[in-house]
Symmetry: C2
Subunit: 578 residues, 2 copies
């Protein structure tokens, strides 16, 4: 992938150029972050002309490498005010790679209040007016575009929330059924896309050649090793194909680490009603489908569809975090309700995590009661309507808490916390506190090590304070590097666990690019990415004292284990000692 | 003043104690900030039990010292997330001083969702249930309380916004007409009071002795010097008695520094319609009153009442910042509309500055048009109703901008900017950027020096970049010290200008307390206060890179002078070199 596609929304020009040296040997998050760091003023308003939206497949995306279909999207975040990379699956990434596009860089703002689409194919890129898409959800947007462009292209789109430039807006990508249900959910990147007047990007790779991988046999050999590692892993080879990411629910609940009722408890009475097993049963009973890849070539196949009682498509089988955000977090144990809430969010284009926690804030304020599924659906209906209440809920949990006058606010750097109780799985607590992305489980996933699943890694028991910072640092570095490859972060467990895994990934990269990357180089890449993100945030006003959890996690023991978060500030401040 | 009154809202206990040594020789802002710094965890949620609301008269409050009736209120701010001191006039401060109360410290949260009043008199302090006050504005609250306690006491109260714990909520104090129209407006301190379940504080000083001042003759001699300095000053002796603080409107507009239409222009076509002169004319024509002190003993007498066309009380004669926030800022040039907007804010208990800028954000988003006075009144009506739109507007400009998806957001550290164009009066720009209080004109008022009004100070012309940091530093230090005395910050101009002024203030302090403070001690006090506030903010996560103006001030020249804010970051970072 040798080309940058720059789209200037002020002048409506689309320009291809060769990727400059300073951005070479980067992909995915490495590339989005490097472009943001180099080209975006850290003090700019995230919705102003100075911000840029960068969309980049990974180094291995488009190749046959298993699980390599991730798309990184980056910008200065309207939610956190810092740098952001959020990734999504679906079709678009691989198609961009086949079009030899390393990154789309969307710059400037349209001077007029109009909406556009960007159409990209092998003949170039065109910016087209799209007034007819205004006010549509992702589903209707894609349905309308499909009439024109068919269902073989990849769509990248925003819903109403992105058009309204709200800080929890996501960016959707279409999956293999042409449904816009895969989302770069976190950090409000949909608002940046909306601010630039772009409703959708159509990626048509028809007629493109295969992505070159160097020696095809060599590449295939490494890929086989890699896929083998993924399939051999208990999590990615067995649990996730069977139950999706929701496989984690019963496990984390049993560990006492499943945050319940806005982080009051570590276990949820209704957990079994919303577990991966229950979801699997319902999906089967109602004739929906599971064990599906969200993009071609994924061997994990954690995607699934979910039907209502009458056998009609209700939404995708929700991810672990979505089941949590609308489930235990709100004390709702009805999967039908959770799926419908998730589907509303997917359609309007808002992050299920931040919106779920925003609904928890509404419940804290007494607007609805915890456990009230219909009440939660009414609130989601406001999101769909774009009423003032809906706008508040689409602006992220921190803003919702402010407007509702709530003081129990589980956010770090303005972003809502996730489905790992940081007082119990303390490595995750460190990641949530210190990641440059705000509270983000994907940026340094310590759970497998904290629960003793990883043989190749020194065991750091979940409740122990000591060693968690070193663990989180290592995970943040390793995942930052992995996020450059286009490989799904779900495959990080085999990457850690299987001795063959990282060498096979490096083998594929080296074969494709004719490089000679070692394990150390991979580590250096991760460090470089993390450091530049940290530096951007410092320029934006972030300080070490922002690398903290909300105070109540330090003071209030969480049942049933009755532990608090007890990693000293001085330890947290060691995270960036590398 | 030797006593601290601690009110614990968890246990409903009121306890008097002698002021500990670490808080002695402080008053007003020095005392509120010292207590917040020593007793409040900088990482706590501003609405959580860990925050404390501190209410303190100044060192000279309650004495005959002219203009010494200010009340400092401090806490961790719900608006900025940093430390806050906001001051107000009216009656309460002097009465607290006569009750020998150096500070009220309100701690904890009531476990139950109930409202209370605190009644303080010479026999002690009582916490009383106040369910009947729920949902009332400041006017009705005081009217109801007056039936019980009469009109000779001082009332400190919150409106509906404070009850809802919204981040732009103010705290009102009653003036000499028993009207709750003086406000500690900035930083959302009303929300802290609301979070603690306190609707009003009744301060009854009946039967108290005079505040001791040491040698009465000596004190009177110094006070005469001080009052003479204030009355001799062109601003405090002539302009403000005649026109109120709105005296500044035509001057600042002529300087090209009156921010218009959300900081697009430096002059407002309708300025003369909303000037201090016009206000004076209208007040006279309609039989309202002007040149009134807001608390006994003030010789500036900038307070005034404002009647509608039928001769009915419409509101107080609005302050300079209020006229700006609802006037030039929104392109509204109708004083009746501006007064009504101000009165709605005063009654609901929200800061006119942050609410005015929040309304500007609504206009940026196209919810209403700039210049639409009736539209602005409709929006203020939503504030009064407490609708979701009203809650958004009562949560401060930064939050409103986020929920409305606006990218032109004149805030620093989450607090709305004020009526001094920082690209023109650059000393004010430095203060707005660097003050620990967020964008706050009162915390380092450079305008008089920048406009060449001060003879005793090296002239730093308004447009010049060089010298503004040194100027702002000196003003921030000097005002931080002045804010400890209870003297009104409006008298800072004579304090700078008249050779006798500071010695006479020190003379009064030294006479009353039997101290031996020099000019250097006063300077040291200011530095101490600023430093501790800065340290608190660092603990709360603030960094030097937050001491900046929004980017558009650096990039977009403001007509008619077409200048930008051009103080380098490295210069701004020198502010705290002392």
């Amino acid at each position: 992938m040798d080309r940058l596609l720059r789209i200037n929304m002020m002048t409506k020009q689309a320009t291809f150029s060769n990727i400059p040296a300073k951005y070479s040997a980067l992909g995915g998050r490495g590339l989005t972050s490097a472009i943001v760091v180099n080209e975006v003023h850290p003090q700019c308003h995230p919705l102003a002309e100075e911000n840029k939206l960068v969309i980049a497949p990974g180094l291995l995306t488009g190749t046959p490498a298993s699980c390599s279909g991730r798309l990184s999207i980056g910008a200065k975040s309207p939610l956190t005010g810092g740098i952001k990379e959020s990734s999504t699956g679906g079709l678009a990434a691989q198609k961009l790679a086949r079009l030899d596009i390393a990154a789309i860089v969307i710059e400037g703002l349209p001077p007029e209040d109009k909406l556009y689409t960007i159409h990209i194919d092998s003949s170039g890129a065109t910016i087209l007016p799209a007034a007819e898409l205004r006010g549509l959800g992702n589903n209707d947007t894609v349905a309308k575009l499909t009439k024109r462009y068919g269902d073989k292209v990849g769509y990248i789109s925003i819903g109403q929330a992105g058009e309204m430039k709200l800080a929890a807006s996501s960016i959707a990508t279409t999956d293999m059924d042409n449904i816009p249900c895969r989302h770069a959910g976190r950090g409000g990147l949909g608002a940046v896309m909306g601010s630039k007047g772009i409703k959708a990007i159509i990626v048509d790779d028809s007629g493109t050649p295969l992505v070159p991988v160097g020696d095809l046999k060599e590449f295939a050999r490494y890929n086989k090793m890699w896929a083998g590692s993924v399939l051999d892993d208990a999590n990615t080879g067995r649990a996730m194909p069977a139950y999706g990411s929701a496989a984690g629910i019963s496990i984390i609940d049993q560990e006492g680490a499943f945050p319940t009722k806005n982080f009051r408890y570590g276990q949820f009475e209704g957990a079994s009603n919303i577990s991966g097993k229950t979801m699997r049963k319902i999906i089967k009973e109602r004739g929906a489908r599971q064990t599906l890849p969200c993009s071609p070539g994924c061997v994990i196949r954690c995607h699934r569809t979910y039907y209502d009682k009458d056998g009609n498509y209700l939404g995708k089988g929700p991810e672990y975090e979505t089941v949590w955000a609308f489930g235990a977090n709100l004390e709702i144990d009805d999967l039908d309700v959770i799926v419908e809430l998730g589907e509303i969010c997917d359609d309007c284009g808002v992050d299920t995590i931040d919106t779920g926690v925003a609904i928890a804030m509404a419940m804290e304020a007494g607007i609805k009661q915890f456990g009230d599924g219909q009440g939660a659906l009414e609130l989601a209906g406001e999101v769909r309507k774009g009423s003032y209440l809906g706008r508040i809920l689409s602006s992220g949990a921190a803003t919702a808490a402010r407007v509702f006058g709530v003081n129990r606010v589980p956010v770090v750097k303005g972003q809502a916390m996730v489905a790992y109780e940081p007082r119990v799985i303390k490595g995750m607590g460190v990641t949530l506190a210190t990641s440059p992305m705000g509270a983000d489980h994907t940026s340094g996933y310590c759970t497998p090590v904290n629960l003793g699943w990883i043989k190749n890694w020194r065991y750091v028991p979940k409740l122990q304070a000591w060693g968690q910072v070193d663990l989180s640092r290592a995970m943040q570095i390793s995942i930052a590097a992995m996020d450059c490859t286009g490989l799904c972060m779900f495959a990080h467990t085999p990457l850690l666990n299987a001795p063959d895994a990282l060498p096979s990934v490096l083998g594929m990269i080296n074969t494709k690019y004719d490089w000679n990357w070692s394990v150390d180089d991979f580590d250096t890449l991760g460090k470089t990415v993390l450091r530049m993100e940290r530096d951007f945030n410092a320029g934006a006003g972030f300080s070490r004292a922002m690398d903290r959890l909300p105070l109540f996690f330090y003071k209030e023991p969480v049942p049933p284990l009755n532990t608090v978060f007890d990693i000293p500030d001085s330890e947290l401040d060691r995270l960036y000692d590398f």
